[in-house]
Symmetry: C2
Amino acid sequence: MYIRKQFRRERLRIPMDKVVLKLALHRKSIRRYKSDKIDLSKILYAIKTALQAPSGANQQPWRFIIVEDPEVKAEIRKICEDLEKKFYSRVKKELKEWLLSRGFTWKKPFLTEAPYLIAVFAELGKPYAVQSTWLAIGYLLLALEEAGLASLTYTPPSSPELLEILRVPEGFQLQTIIPVGIAGEDKRKEPRKKLHEVTFYNRWGTTLMQD
Amino acid sequence: MYIRKQFRRERLRIPMDKVVLKLALHRKSIRRYKSDKIDLSKILYAIKTALQAPSGANQQPWRFIIVEDPEVKAEIRKICEDLEKKFYSRVKKELKEWLLSRGFTWKKPFLTEAPYLIAVFAELGKPYAVQSTWLAIGYLLLALEEAGLASLTYTPPSSPELLEILRVPEGFQLQTIIPVGIAGEDKRKEPRKKLHEVTFYNRWGTTLMQD
């Protein structure tokens, strides 16, 4: 009970401008894109931001390929859709129903519709390479949102063919392909769990007040 | 050559207020903390921001424990330092030299000095649980920075004892323990690679202009 009161009091003090929260609240995953051109400078801005993320032993294990060439995008889409067809044919029933209920299929039109794709790789030999790279992707998404750009973290099934097309050397693993552009669909953000549902105090099981 | 010119031109158009880049540039990993109290509301603000991150099939696999209790912090520190002593006794020479050159030892004073620790967990059965959780940690760090708080992503060696102390149920894996508070050391941010060193255009190997 003491904890509950304390949390209620603390919640009244709101920090600063809350820009980061506003960006995080506003950002949603977008699967359809308009063909509108966007400034490459905005993509570079977001990657510059991502480069400032911390990483295991500061090894900065991330690499980025900005894909603008329509032919390369078409090749990527072809490979991914072929893989997705196979994936959808063997996915577990529960997940499949969830996916279908949200209109997900093997089709990945955003891979050619979006003016840019950002393919993100992790150098697997580095400490916490995958973790560090995804932390940097968090930075990247917020910077893209700030630049007014829609995005999606799409991770295709593992594919040596895709790495070959992009000429990726050994030791680097594709983490995600992020289409970036102007949203071509109007959708609601998927609902999130409440703070008290996922946050404990001092030990697991001691919950915060309802928020 | 065409690419180089294009990039030079694009770079002149700078997007918006660049708040996210400023936060990312300003944030650095801090290993010593003042004992100053901080508002719990700021911790909650940062976690609220993290909850808005995207995740595999929107499963939101993350959980957070905010540790304020000095006894729990002391237990965590004891376990971690015992594990670190073992780790340092067998770490590879190259990494060890790098660590020592930056003053890293098995000692983790921040685990008791910082007024708060945020332990972050991933629910391993969920799709892309680790990746999604670290993406959310990226959001978390930027929100902490915005709130004027220093932080560090410290990942101890794997430890069943630590999970027991924190009463973590099966299926959840500790990702990191983030001390949060007021910086008690004045240090420079570790240098980052340049944009053109880690970013390619259309295919791996085609580099951007020098930045």
